[in-house]
Amino acid sequence: MQSKAWLVARHEFAVTIGRLGFRIFAAAVPVLALLALIGIGVFDAVRGGDEASPDERQPAAEAARVGYADLSVGEDGQPLFASFREQDGVAFVPYPDEERGSAALQAGEVDALYVFPRDFLETGLLVRMRMEDSNGGAGNDELRRFVLSNLVAGEVSEQQLQRVISPYTVAPVELSASGEPVEEDDFDSAEFLFSFGAGMLLLVSVLTAAGYLLQGLSEEKENRIMEVLLSSLKPEQLMFGKLLGLGAAGLLQMAVWTAALVAFLLALGRIVDLPVELSAPSVGTLGVALAYFLLGYAFLGTVQAALGVVTTNLKEANNIAVFVVLPAVSPMWFLTVLIEHPDSVLARVLSYVPFTAPLTGLIRFGAGGTGLGEVALNLGVLAAFAALAVLLTARLFRAYLLMYGQRPGVRHILRTLWSG
């Protein structure tokens, strides 16, 4: 029995990965990632290091030298920019007039020249000069700090000066119902990104594989090969073989996508400054993602197989499959809640509903809302539902595989599910 199911699995796997559609779909993510990487790389090169990579930026900033010619006059009749010439590693080099500053700029002694005119205090207007095709100069933050520091020099304390430059930073505190501050969970952005990404890939892979299962079953019923197959093996062997083979194809697709995305993000991190620090997902996270994939596929794929058996053709099967696909993607509608309140009642409930459990479970796990104990419980419940789905679908396989051109009534299906 096992060997025949294995033969079916091998056949289904080979046929599925041989499909042009499967290959295009599987290659789409790596190709898009590569194109995106090339695009970003070209864009970065054109910008010429204005937004240099993190590795390159520090040495460049240390070497930055900008000149300024201070022609301004303060209320006390003195020049405004006499102090604070070192700001965040940018050296502001004074020149007595525009001509000498300009000569230094042309000589390459400075990257840019800022000219503060006589009426700067009244107008706030300053002139930046730099060589053609050059993007040198101080950044906005550095220039702002230089100007502010000089304008209030001697008027305020150093601390007040810091507050003028950077007035405040909000530190959020949430209180529980009892008035106690709620401790923030340790939110690991990289883990969340991986879990969320894995959840999306899982869903697409599972639904793709389940779609192929549905398509294959419908075709076999429509072209009557089912009858030949059933003269060689049992319906259960056919079902297990199909689930196994198409699950393996789905897993392969997910592995290709995951590898492509991880490679993309790692390469991206070397080109641009990412908002989160990337690190390889932990073995635990990988294990949880794999478990959700396998059990999610076992459940959703089996339900799709059941639809393939009780419908008369692929079109009808696809129409009814919406009732599986929609619940499976429905956790996306509650994404904000799942991320911000992964421990909420809604999140917990969705984790136990077999249709929504795979995606919800991975999002919550990534958001740090579930411990391993709860994950294990969720997976256990999902496994139980998957086993039940396999048992019931096997009954449908036995009853309806040879029913061509007519759909059994709902009452008849329920009776078959109940009594076998």
Binding site: V15, N223, R224, I225, E227, S231, S232, L233
Partner: protein, 312 residues
């Protein structure tokens, strides 16, 4: 092809019943097919032939009765010795010929390497060599049919069920397939052959089983059945119209002579005597053997009449 004791039928069904809801598709069907025998399974559409075949192949379980294959209840091992060509062809249209055949052969327990060797032999036998690299969707209906036939016998089955095997084939390929069937019979395979083409049954089958409304209404060697149904018919080549002769119920022109139906209880000698008394010159006088098609129609009509009578 393995051997089984000659005394044991390859397949034996005993008292099969199958119901679908309130409809009884098959009622109390018993039959057997022996090694080296070609049995024709005939019957009108919806008579229960396909359901019977499915039960013999263990695709469907009977509600009552039993099936034994090779002298034992149906088992996966026994299933691997069956070759089945269903009425509506089933192959993977997007796959090429060889992968299709190898997959089906492997499901029958054949090693891939052995299947490849045997497939080459069959391609040569059936004239399929130029097409073995093509996809099924690229083949004509007839060629697809031949490929399916090749897939059916690739693993060297001992029990072969062919459901309408010649439909869609041109005369050349019909001959190729008939020769292959005869060869398989010679090798000892038991063959059940379901068709509506009575001429094919007459040509190929040793025995005929007729099913009507789920029941076996005829089962026996073809020659015996023909003899049985020949009792009331005569063929006479004569220069006098036999209509009105003693014992003739009905007379109609048939080529160079007349086909006569005898009245109930009358013998051919009565007719011969009457014709001679009328001075007729007689060139041929023989019992007419009805074609299988005529027998089929007669049985079905008789059944329908009995059904109508029962309904009244």
């Amino acid at each position: 092809m393995s051997t089984i004791p000659a005394t044991l039928p390859t397949v034996h069904a005993d008292g099969l019943f199958k119901r679908f809801g309130s409809t009884v598709a098959v009622r109390n069907v018993s039959l057997s097919v022996n090694p080296g025998e070609v049995v024709g399974l005939v019957g009108p559409n919806g008579s229960g032939k396909t359901t019977t075949i499915r039960m013999l192949l263990d695709i469907l379980r009977p509600d009552e009765g039993s099936v034994s294959l090779f002298g034992a209840p149906v088992s996966p091992r026994a299933q691997s010795r069956i070759g089945y060509l269903p009425e509506e062809r089933g192959l993977y249209r997007s796959l090429r010929v060889i992968p299709n055949m190898l997959y089906l052969a492997e499901l029958k327990g054949m090693r891939r390497e052995d299947a490849l060797v045997r497939a080459d032999d069959l391609f040569a036998l059936l004239g399929l060599e130029p097409h073995k690299g093509k996809k099924i969707s690229e083949l004509s209906r007839g060629l697809g049919q031949l490929v399916q036939f090749a897939a059916t016998i690739l693993h060297g089955p001992d029990f072969i069920v062919l459901d309408e095997p010649f439909s869609g084939l041109d005369p050349v390929n019909v001959r190729v397939m008939k020769d292959a069937v005869s060869r398989l019979r010679g090798e000892g395979a038991a063959i059940m052959f379901s068709t509506h083409q009575m001429t094919d049954v007459e040509e190929l089958c040793d025995r005929v089983i007729m099913i009507d409304r789920g029941t076996v209404v005829l089962d026996g060697p073809l020659v015996d059945i023909k003899r049985w149904f020949a009792g009331n018919d005569l063929f006479v080549a004569t220069d006098v119209d036999p209509q009105g002769a003693d014992g003739v119920l009905e007379s109609r022109r048939d080529g160079a002579g007349y086909a006569l139906r005898l009245a109930e209880g009358r013998a051919p000698e009565d007719v011969l005597r009457s014709l001679l008394e009328r001075g007729a010159k007689i060139d041929r006088f023989e019992l007419a053997t009805p074609s299988l098609e005529e027998i089929f129609l007669r049985v079905v009509q008789r059944d329908r009449m009995e059904e109508a009578r029962d309904a009244e």
